[in-house]
């Protein structure tokens, strides 16, 4: 008799009752990837449009004046948060698929989270600084 996945030692009865699968996070990761993808769609259309019309070739004064406007600041912050979270989730899946050394994977996953958290915070701070101080 061949064992099915549900009878394997990777799926204990407690594990099955929790229903969170091998990662312990259930389908959260997948859902968050979709939610941020849906949010990215209008935000990236806005970003490309803005870069073409306001950012490309702009002088320092022109860029700061554009970025300081509340609507632009808000949309830029939303873009950074949504895209960076989406990118952190996405690169995590890629690391999980291709890195087979558990120790290396552990550090890579922490590195991804630290990198995107740090850069997102740096971007949000910069946008706020431009808005409030110039």
């Amino acid at each position: 008799m061949k064992l099915k996945w549900k009878d394997s030692r990777f799926d204990s009865q407690l594990g099955r009752a929790k229903g969170l699968g091998a990662t312990g996070h259930g389908v959260d990761h997948w859902i968050h990837q979709r939610i941020t993808a849906v949010a990215n769609l209008p935000l990236m259309i806005w970003l490309v449009w803005s870069v073409v019309h306001h950012v490309a070739g702009a002088s320092y004064e022109e860029f700061v004046a554009w970025q300081a406007q509340p609507l632009n600041a808000i949309l830029m912050i939303l873009s950074v948060v949504s895209v960076f979270y989406h990118a952190a989730l996405g690169t995590q899946v890629i690391a999980e698929d291709y890195i087979h050394n558990e120790g290396l994977k552990f550090f890579k996953l922490i590195g991804i989270k630290l990198f995107f958290s740090a850069t997102a915070i740096a971007c949000v701070f910069s946008i706020l600084k431009i808005s409030f101080v110039g």
Binding site: N40, V48, V51, G57, A87, T91
Partner: protein, 132 residues
């Protein structure tokens, strides 16, 4: 026999070295490649925002790089990758809702994605032509 019975029946991925590349499989890996490239490309956005917040000198360094041949080449790659990933992401949404799985439709949607990537990229660079 006992050795055999401990094995879990798991699905096998196609063996890439002997598997003929097809439009659908190449487009699938391209979604991953563009997503990864875009993730690295976020550094450009981080640089722009920190530079602009730091002052005119830092901004000038960024602007010089972005306007250089290397900078423009990276930006071109960024637009291609973004439009491909965006359009193919919409194709993913249809799959998630259960549509476009029939072989014919999967291929046709793929060609639409490729065409839209080219059209949007050309359109954006025509609008933002750095040499005009």
């Amino acid at each position: 026999m006992s050795e055999q019975s401990n094995k879990v029946e798991r699905p096998l991925s196609p063996h890439l070295q002997v598997y003929r590349p097809q439009m659908t499989s190449v487009m699938s890996i391209l979604h991953r490649a563009t997503g990864y490239a875009l993730s690295i490309g976020t550094i450009m956005v981080v640089w722009l925002l920190i530079a602009a917040a730091s002052g005119p000198e830092a901004y000038a360094v960024f602007a010089k790089f972005a306007g250089s041949n290397i900078g423009l080449f990276l930006l071109l790659g960024w637009t291609v990758a973004l439009f491909y990933h965006m359009c193919n992401g919409i194709r993913h949404f249809f799959w998630d809702m259960g549509y476009l799985f029939e072989l014919k439709k999967a291929f046709r949607a793929g060609y639409v994605v490729l065409a839209m990537t080219v059209i949007l990229t050309v359109w954006v660079w025509y609008c933002a032509c750095p040499w005009s």
